[in-house]
């Protein structure tokens, strides 16, 4: 089922591109970019939802709830959900598009592995899934040489007899760049998300670099192009935080220009009144943060009308 719906069509597209460009390495690059373009709307949707969540965390009402129920997680969760509902923020809004993308990305990865058929048994299995309109005899097996690489082998560039894993190094750098540039600004030093992002910045490049170092260079090429395409995609959408590149210490509270457009508008600080009476909480929360909330979701929900 998985093979028929995802992997086989992907593999055939990859083979068709290879047939046109006559180079498997170039085909991997083009196919990765193609998949990025196809998943663009999902990425955009996920990014917007993540941004809303990020903005929500700097909202005074959210902070107030956080402070008030810091010792009652259940109640905090309830109030948080109420706030989500009120502001039209979908907590799963950033996860869902990513989840939908996941099979596409896995399919892409598997189709590249399949295309690199490295044994007679794998080549036979590849030949059997090639659609009839592609001339498998002319196409297979794919030529695995690309630039200095053998796409079926881990990549090393020999410079004066020293074997340098150039692709793995570039994958480390681009993964680090990607993590840094896409890290949203945070105002809360105790933000769990920020802590997680920080850890990601450190570990993901190492992890991806290790995989690029040890896996076939065809896959490392895919990692690299995927990183570059993602950075380019975010840059085109104006969501790259270039300032993050030069920030290595604690994150500044200020947001980058590019993301300010969607940031909560600085509203007049209204007095935050915390009523100890739990029955009035809902009403009170609404009262305290309403202007800020509206401005926050204004772009996302233009149909929302102001309550007076």
């Amino acid at each position: 089922m998985w093979q028929t719906i995802i992997v086989n069509p992907f593999t055939n597209v990859l083979l068709a591109i290879t047939l046109v460009v006559q180079n498997f390495g170039v085909a991997i690059i083009l196919f990765t970019i193609l998949i990025k373009l196809i998943t663009w709307p999902l990425t955009t949707s996920s990014m917007k939802a993540a941004q809303s969540m990020q903005q929500l965390q700097s909202d005074p009402r959210y902070k107030k709830i956080q402070e008030k129920y810091k010792n009652d997680k259940e109640k905090f969760a309830q109030e948080q959900m109420k706030l989500y509902k009120e502001l039209g923020v979908k907590p799963m809004g950033s996860c869902l598009p990513n989840l939908i993308q996941l099979p596409i990305i896995i399919g892409l990865y598997q189709s590249i592995i399949k295309g690199m058929a490295a044994t007679p048994y794998e080549l036979l299995n590849l030949e059997r899934i090639v659609y009839s309109f592609l001339d498998s005899n002319k196409l297979l097996p794919l030529q695995n040489k690309f630039l200095w690489m053998d796409l079926g082998q881990p990549e090393r560039l020999s410079v004066f007899g020293v074997q340098i894993p150039v692709l793995a190094i570039i994958v480390v750098l681009t993964t680090f760049l990607q993590s840094k540039l896409m890290q949203p600004p945070t105002t809360n030093p105790n933000d769990q998300g920020a802590a997680f992002s920080k850890a990601m910045n450190l570990y993901m490049p190492i992890l991806m670099g290790w995989m690029a170092y040890s896996l076939a260079s065809g896959l490392a090429l895919y990692f690299l192009i995927s990183n570059i395409a993602t950075i380019a995609q975010y840059a085109i959408m104006g969501k790259v935080n270039w300032k993050n590149l030069f920030t290595f210490g604690p994150k500044p509270a200020s947001a980058p220009v590019s993301s300010r457009q969607n940031q909560v508008k600085p509203t007049k600080p209204e007095p935050v009144v915390i009523d100890e009476d739990e029955d009035d909480e809902e009403e009170e929360v609404e009262k305290v943060g309403k202007p800020s909330a509206r401005s926050m979701v204004k772009q996302r929900r233009p149909q929302m009308k102001k309550k007076k």
Binding site: P120, E122, P141, M211
Partner: protein, 353 residues
Amino acid sequence: MKIKRVFVTAVFVTLAFILSACAMGPRAVGAPGLSADGEMVYVSNKQFVYAVNAKTGTQVWSYPSKASTQIVFYAPPVVNEDGVYVGDLANNFYKLDKATGAELWKFSGAKGWFIGQAAIAMQTIYAPSADHSMYALNINDGSLAWKYETDHQIWSQPLALGDKIIVSSLDHFVHAVDEDGVEVWKTSLNGALVGAPVSNETMDMVFAATIGNSLYGLDASSGDVKWQFDATSGLWATPLYTQENLLVCDEAGKIYSVNPKTGELVWTIETGSKVMGGLLAIEGGFVIVTEDGNVRAYDFERKSPWNVKLTGEIYSTPVKTDENIIVGLMNSEVLLVGINLQGTQVWSFTPGK
């Protein structure tokens, strides 16, 4: 906060460990590679090469002593009186002691996997590699004598033919080189060559099958195409030249007997099953293995005296010892099955049991 950081770090370290474990080692699936001499069968499968007693099916030794994720074997070993020669997917080629499996030498100069079986001629091993080269190695110490480069991977066993070495590559070419590695001729055919080239007893012809459905008869001295025979589907297995019969089997499971001099069709047999593993010569006939686990004997009158159905799939060419036919299986609990020449299964071998 510190606890959270420790937790996040622990999660990433665990993830890195798991993913890097997955990432390590060659990612490939292949069929077991078999070879045999009179009493022993040698099989490359996943992380080991096994020597198995061909009469009893008991393991004599395995190499290496401990499994490594970096070392994977699928190339069929080649055997002579001195040792067992085999390449792996970590780009190494080994000579192993025939009696113990101890490593006698290792050649690490290749830049690609060893998928195909090597060939031995005089004091030289000819090892085909997926890095597009055929390596000529000194049989005594594994030192490189020369290498011959092609434009694509080499998956099939070279053929030592007089003073020439014939080797086929996946770029549709059959190459002939002399004993110093200098190209004598090369001929382009209509498809990739996965099966090995074979010759007749007078060694004036070379027969090569392509996955482009064709069997070719080439002049051994010039490489000129003497004739071409077209099958109905891809020819993945090595053709079989035995007792003046030239046989080949296509992927759809049709066996063709072709006149080796003219390329004309003599007869066909429909096996009804897909075939990749190919054919094996036995006294008075041949054996064919099909993907769905059938091992079937035929005589040259096209009569089938016996058929054995095994549980599993067969993608490897079977081998023959003094008394038995040995078949390698995939997707099965057992790795090898020994069948006597009367068509009775006499043993099975499962690694680690």
